[in-house]
Symmetry: C2
Amino acid sequence: MITKQKAVLLLSGGLDSTTTLAIVKSENYDIYALSFDYGQRNRFEVQTAKAVAKVFDVVEHRIATIDLRAFGGSSLTSELEVEKNRSIDEIGTGVPATYVPARNTLFLSFALAWAEVLDARHIFIGVNEVDTSGYPDCRPEFISAFENLARLATRMGTESSEEDTPITVHAPLQSLGKRGIIERGLELGVDYALTNTCYDPSPEGLACGGCDACILRQRAFHELGTEDPLEYHTRLQVN
Amino acid sequence: MITKQKAVLLLSGGLDSTTTLAIVKSENYDIYALSFDYGQRNRFEVQTAKAVAKVFDVVEHRIATIDLRAFGGSSLTSELEVEKNRSIDEIGTGVPATYVPARNTLFLSFALAWAEVLDARHIFIGVNEVDTSGYPDCRPEFISAFENLARLATRMGTESSEEDTPITVHAPLQSLGKRGIIERGLELGVDYALTNTCYDPSPEGLACGGCDACILRQRAFHELGTEDPLEYHTRLQVN
């Protein structure tokens, strides 16, 4: 019997991380999924992540609770309003208000702690080309810097030589836009009705349809000529 | 009026971080102290940190709750026994059982998140020469790697040029041993009766006297020819 390698995967249950999960699943890994309850506005995210983890039959799914609201600074974790119905040009400019300070640094640090305990050498994160345009902590340079830190920060690191990468941070969507991500996921049989990417869902958990995440997603499905299977509060009219 | 610079300081209320606080206080900073309730065996740590923060009159003291017990892997956060009465040679060898996976990476990530919200450009951490011998995430290379990550991870980073260090991680004790740390602290008037470094205090909060932290501390005071003002459950007999 061939032993599978262990992978720790950051899972929000959104479109990106779910597609990443499908990719990891198609490779030879035992998957340990990690989600966060961080006071995010989308309180359904954790439930979505649980449902996704179950469908993909991960070895273990943990939810870490961290209170990022204590620091504030983002419309995702505070009373700041989530911007709605922005044009594609607006969406592509600057660091958005939905940026949560140091979020990916924190998430990857938790993943690193768990990887070290599991002796897992692989961490997967769903950052991609769209994120890169606005969020500093999604850029390839950031991912490399974290890998370097992981080598120096861990017990595994002290036991390996300087050329080794004892822990690899994989970002398989890094060079893909939303359309490419969905295409890849559909090939792998992802049911995108499961994934709710919305920054600001209705009290019943329906995706709003108008936040940056909902707009980018609906446009990508439209460009692919496929129906987005997710239910929306107000569906975007794409011309 | 000269505006002070803002500094985020990691504060456990132990000997090292309290001395670091005294150093930062002696320089020209507004201090934002950050402590963690992370399921550590020393449940009094947070109270100690609060008392220390009060004495040094910091601008703000926040306690972030994170559940590191969920990951296990350390005698400080699990039912593993804390080793007692080890010799100085034993204490100096290998990664100790008290190592908490990725702890400093996590702590610095939280500090970074808060620094970003505060627009603080300085983070202080009390890692030192003694830690460096056993804990991978206390080495100078680790601190530099985190600084590099901080530059790439943050909004401040995207707004600065590549040569800039938008966030500096200061480790003023880096080259000091316990004796040097205490000497520096006494010069600055630190009351070490406040600081409880013990890994495994009694139910009443008394330092055990026999864990690595208690041993190193008592030996250092002894070498300095000064009485350690901390109350111990069982005081070390140094010959």
